[in-house]
Amino acid sequence: MKFGVVTFPGSNCDYDAYAAVRFVLGQEVEFLWHKSSDLCNADVIILPGGFSYGDYLRGGAIARFSPIMEEVLQFASSGGPVIGICNGFQVLTECGLLPGALMRNSHLRFSCKYVHIRVESDQTPFTHGCTVGEVLNIPIAHGEGNYYHFDKEIKELEDNGQVVFRYCEADGSITEKANPNGSIAGIAGICNRGGNVVGLMPHPERAVESILGSADGLKILNSVNDYKKVTAQA
């Protein structure tokens, strides 16, 4: 399995994603420069966290115009698995691969801490190795992670099973207290209609070794790593 990690000039979690894949997952991985138009035959694309182009205007607002994103759009439309983490999620909503928008956190401050998220769908390449209802302990680090969409569209997302992760308490219950940024319906991550494009605010690549506090993020990376094998056998 070969992973590609997109590097925008202001990406700063690109190395973390690279290291998680390379040193923990033990898979092949390559950086994909934002000015390039070559996905280097990657089987999975990761849009990492950071501040793609400084993002003084709005997270991910400029990144969607970069050459590499043309290729990512193509890749996604042909069913290739793409995951956008934090800033990567913002980029995915800005370029229209995922619906909705990420607004400033409701408390208007950056927030970095461990949170619990509940898996709401196992019908994506990134969660098929998890079970619905499973609780993962994964950190967040963002100032603009307040997911929003109109009621009708939220209902559609729910009905289509496109809500992939929701903020929750350690026991899996969904409460207002567990919601760290004011996201509507406690949404932490969603997918497109096809399920192959997933965006989430929490950082699975930061939770891949117990020495760093949690290895729950591995479940997401392992899911996609096993995914192709599963589909290949099927």
Partner: protein
């Protein structure tokens, strides 16, 4: 850029405006053999400012211990200190103040403080791996103080978060002495291959000098001079002296800089901070015993019509000056182009020892480089010292005035929610503490801990200073800062390696202030010698005064330690039911200088508890060995708030797994001193029942005082018949306090 530039005549008023005294002006004339022109006056003004020249501090700073094992860059050698940590790696670190800018413009002041210290690290070829901040403000009851806290925290967060360095710890203190003049001390730590350290030098006649990074604008002109005077009402008008930060550009700059270094394209490189191009040019050429000719019209500028004076003194951020290896100019430009940054040849190295500035080929300033810099021709003063009278009064306290008929549970609540003790999670959650995925312990334990990839090792980092101690006894206060930093490193399982310091004081021309400075330097030197932690550099910040008062003498210590094996990493919180709690050290009857007197009686008073450095060192060595033998399950030093607060923190600081403790203290001393007194050199540890005997036998052999305090377990903290509280209540007091007082309206 104007093609013709006429220099205004130099007048007495102009000299005074530039902060130069008669003696200094006479010296300038002697150096030049003539009157300086306007541009040269500006150059001397910034280079001989306190901020750049250390003219009132350097003679004392030189008395600090600077030698040690494994030092790759000593104090004064380079932009930051560097220590060899084995495995082919070196750690590079430094702390610096950005107090005055933050006082008038908290967001940009703090942000550019972070930016500046990060550049000091990567200009040496090191990748920044961690940032810490030591912050001091007035009382949070004051709405303006809360405005400052909010702006500073956002500034630090936005810069570090975007740059991509984890902000892993530091301190936040509140005292009225910092009301108008907060202290913003930023520390950064970087990692570099031990043979990869780059020098801030320009040499080799004919080698080209390139400016890289941002364009030069009109921001921050005279920032260094602004930093070298007291804050007054009029200081708000100097807001244009504050620079504006752009973390995205800094992120591009670090990548491009590390790339040109890795590719072996440069002779030397220096970041541009205080005094901008002027400082980097004079320092790089002085270090190389060479000269530099700068073609000032070649500098990329942000706006039309900037004068050479403005370009030379601009403190625009995110710029570096590079001395290029012959023929590598195009390769450098290619790399900077890739990152979307400017790179331009603006001059070359000469062999005349002069900093020469030309405008369209015409020389408009020429000064011997060496005469501008610290250690060269910059002035050095020895200032008058006088013991302040307040010390005789304020250290006397009447113990009978403190009632012993108190509700000790209430007092413990008051302390746990006191601004100086409560959890600073409100601050630290606004910083990305985990990016780069090396953070094992972020904010909230005794020291921050980062693992070093591809090795068994980890770094422990701490910043410490108790300003109240330094106010009441600057010598013991400074010793305590070093001792506490070392204790925090050891409690985390590390061996203290070396120190960087940030010396925040008032106006050095006041003999009482200078007394505190001199005493603090003496104490710091004594402590660093005992702990074997040389001072590798740092920064001095004088003139920290508002119209009402000077700040407490605050010699902040940043310390780096090495954890030999990640299995030695130790946290402060209690682990398992039934574990034994031991106190290393001894409880004595002290209440002076305590946070208890400050929080309950609103007093900064009394004698600082005595500190025996040799004894402290023996305790730390014992603990480190015990940790390395895997006998210790938790370790936490006793500091602000005394033993009761330390025990409460051991119970609650891990929010995921809080646990109680039952404590029986046999000491026959006053309960207020017993619970909240701040006797030095004490550490609370816990261990399994099986390991207790081995630990206590070793301490007996070593003749170290210790006592068995009790057992970990249940859900209450019980201390004799004095304290009996549920851990949920303790936790609420500790964690809810700061959000409450910060989000207070009005």
């Amino acid at each position: 850029m104007p093609t013709a530039f006429s220099q205004p005549p130099v007048t007495r008023e102009m000299i005074a405006f530039h902060g130069l005294n008669d003696e200094e002006y006479a010296k300038i004339k002697e150096i030049l053999g003539r009157e300086p022109n306007y541009t040269e006056l500006g150059i001397f003004s910034v280079m001989w400012s306190e901020h750049c020249s250390y003219k009132n501090s350097i003679s004392l700073i030189k008395t600090l211990p600077r030698e040690g094992d494994n030092l790759l860059a000593k104090a004064g050698d380079e932009n930051a200190g560097a220590v060899d940590i084995g495995d082919g790696l070196a750690v590079v670190f430094k702390i610096e103040s950005h107090n005055h800018p933050s006082a008038v413009e908290p967001y940009q002041g703090a942000a550019t403080g972070v930016g500046g210290i990060l550049r000091d690290i990567f200009t040496m070829g090191a990748r920044p791996i961690a940032a810490l901040n030591s912050l001091r403000f007035g009382s949070p009851d004051n709405p303006h103080v809360r405005f400052l806290v909010d702006g500073v925290v956002r500034g630090i967060g936005d810069y570090g978060n975007s740059f991509g360095v984890p902000t892993v710890g530091g301190e936040v203190y509140f005292d009225e002495s910092y009301t108008g003049n907060p202290l913003i001390n930023a520390m950064a730590v970087g990692l570099v291959k031990d043979d990869g350290i780059v020098s801030a030098v320009a040499k080799g006649k004919g080698n080209k000098m390139m400016i890289v990074g941002s364009k030069t604008g009109r921001d921050g002109i005279h920032g260094a001079t602004f930093a070298s005077e007291e804050l007054t009402e009029a200081s708000q008008e100097k807001r244009p002296s504050v620079q504006i930060g752009d973390p995205f550009t800094e992120k591009l700059l670090v990548e491009a800089t590390l790339e040109i270094i890795k590719e072996g394209l440069i002779v030397g490189i220096q970041d541009m901070g205080a005094a901008g191009i002027t400082c980097s040019t004079s320092e790089m050429s002085a270090k190389g015993e060479a000269g530099i000719r700068l073609d000032i019209d070649q500098v990329p500028v942000r706006e039309e019509g900037m004068t050479p004076y403005e370009i030379l003194l601009s403190e625009s951020q995110e710029r570096m000056l590079v001395c290029v290896k012959p023929g590598k100019e195009a390769a450098i430009t290619e790399i900077f182009d890739k990152w979307g940054l400017d790179s331009k040849i603006i001059g070359e190295v000469t062999d005349d020892g002069m900093m020469t500035v030309t405008l369209h080929g015409e020389v408009i300033a020429q000064i011997p480089s060496d005469c501008l810099v610290l250690g060269g021709g910059a002035p050095v003063y020895t200032r008058e010292v006088k013991r302040p009278k307040y010390l005789d009064e304020i250290t006397k306290i009447d113990m009978n005035s403190y009632s012993l008929e108190r509700n000790w549970n209430e007092d413990l609540f008051s302390l746990l929610s006191a601004p100086n003790i409560c959890s600073k999670g409100w601050v630290f959650e606004q910083y990305d503490s985990m990016v780069r995925t090396n953070t094992v312990l972020g904010p909230g334990s005794d020291a921050a801990v980062l693992r070093l990839r591809k090795t068994r090792k980890a770094l422990a980092i701490s910043t410490d200073c108790n300003g109240r101690y330094c106010y009441l006894n600057p010598r013991i206060g400074a010793q305590s800062a070093v001792a506490e930093a070392a204790r925090n490193i050891v409690c985390s399982g590390g061996k203290p390696l070396a120190v960087t310091n940030c010396l925040n004081f008032g106006n050095p021309y006041k003999p009482e202030i200078y007394y505190g400075f001199k005493e603090a330097i003496t104490g710091m030197g004594e402590a660093c010698t005992v702990f074997g932690t040389p001072v590798t550099g740092g920064n001095v910040s004088f003139y920290n005064e508002d119209p009402d008062r000077a700040v407490f003498p605050t010699p902040t210590i940043g310390m780096v330690g090495l954890i030999e094996d990640i299995n030695h990493i130790t946290t402060q919180w209690f682990k398992d039911e039934g574990d034994i709690i031991l106190l290393i050290g001894q409880n004595e009857e002290h209440l002076g200088a305590s946070e208890y007197l400050h929080a309950i009686y609103k007093q900064n008073a009394g004698e600082v508890p005595p500190l025996d450095l040799e004894y402290e060192h023996r305790i730390q060595q014992f603990l480190l060995n015990a940790i390395r033998s895997r006998l210790v399950k938790s370790a936490h030093d006793v500091s602000d708030g005394g033993l009761a607060v330390a025990l409460a923190e051991c119970c609650i600081s891990n929010q995921e797994r809080q646990i109680g403790a039952v404590i029986e203290l046999a000491d026959d001393i006053r309960p207020d001193c017993l619970l909240f007194g701040e006797t030095q050199s004490r550490i609370v540890i816990s261990c399994s029942k099986e390991d207790e005997k081995e630990l206590t036998m070793k301490m007996t052999e070593l003749n170290l005082p210790f006592s068995n305090l009790g057992t970990v377990g249940l859900d209450r903290l019980v201390i004799n018949d004095l304290i009996d509280l549920h851990i949920t209540a303790l936790s609420k007091a500790f964690f809810d306090a700061m959000p409450k007082f910060m989000e207070k309206v009005g």
